[in-house]
């Protein structure tokens, strides 16, 4: 599932979907969050909307990283040059993967225990789920040849 702001603003009779500082007006942030939650409820990935300035690679990388943190599984591109930047942002880093493996190993080494300490932090089931998701994504992205 993808969310989009352009046609929505036309449908609502809005002259713009942005605030003065360039961020999305509340209605469009709401649409984005509803798309994210609706996709999670359906068990399918949500993809974030476009980054329209295709020359602004740094801005795109930052926006895509923010989207991944929020739970999006990908982001749509409007220019071929954006594809590599987006794939990078949505691919777990080597550090992410190493940490996720340590989290999974820590729980597997302590079967039946719901909360464990790692690096001075307490971890519980949501952390284990997140770690497994990182490893699953890493396996699939690397396996598809999308990234090196």
């Amino acid at each position: 599932m993808i969310w989009g702001a352009e046609d929505l603003s036309a449908a609502l009779g809005a002259s713009t979907n942005r605030l003065e500082d360039g961020t999305y007006e509340f209605t469009y942030q709401l649409a984005r969050s509803l798309c994210l939650a609706g996709a999670a409820a359906a068990g399918v990935p949500a993809f974030d909307g476009i980054w329209s300035d295709f020359r602004d690679t740094a801005g795109l990388a930052e926006d895509a990283t923010r989207a991944r943190r929020a739970g999006f599984g990908g982001k749509i591109a409007i220019h071929p040059d954006q594809v590599a930047v987006i794939n990078d942002a949505f691919s777990p880093s080597a550090e992410d993967i190493a940490y996720a493996k340590r989290v999974v190993a820590a729980f597997e080494g302590n079967p039946g225990i719901g909360t464990i300490g790692l690096d001075g932090k307490m971890l519980d089931m949501p952390h284990l789920k997140q770690a497994r998701r990182v490893l699953e994504t890493a396996g699939k992205v690397v396996g598809s040849g999308a990234v090196k």
């Binding site: 599932m1 993808i2 969310w3 989009g4 702001a5 352009e6 046609d7 929505l8 449908a11 609502l12 709401l30 649409a31 984005r32 509803l34 798309c35 939650a37 609706g38 996709a39 409820a41 359906a42 068990g43 399918v44 990935p45 993809f47 599984g73 990908g74 994504t137 396996g139 699939k140 992205v141 396996g143 598809s144």
Partner: protein
């Protein structure tokens, strides 16, 4: 379109599961006519482009047989809607 065996298609202005299901039915027929495997063509729905669409975002949860039907590794696409 189906004879070109696309990996998937984008459905713009999707305003709920009913719209997605209608496309799913069309694709059932088109895939059969083109000799493609059932469910071969994925759908990516753009789900927030109409006023009504904002009130239907929970409807897709009833549209899929099971979580995990999609395969992010394959195409990063939303797999076909199922009754």
């Amino acid at each position: 379109m189906a004879s070109a065996a696309p990996d998937g298609i984008v459905l713009p202005k999707c305003d709920g599961a009913e719209t997605l299901r209608r496309l799913d039915h069309y694709l059932d027929a088109l895939e059969a006519a083109a000799g493609l495997a059932h469910g071969r063509i994925s759908i990516i729905a753009v789900v927030t482009e109409t006023a009504k669409s904002l009130f239907t975002l929970d409807s897709y949860a009833r549209c899929y047989a099971a979580p995990g039907r999609h395969d992010l590794g394959r195409r990063g696409s939303v797999r076909r809607a199922r009754r």
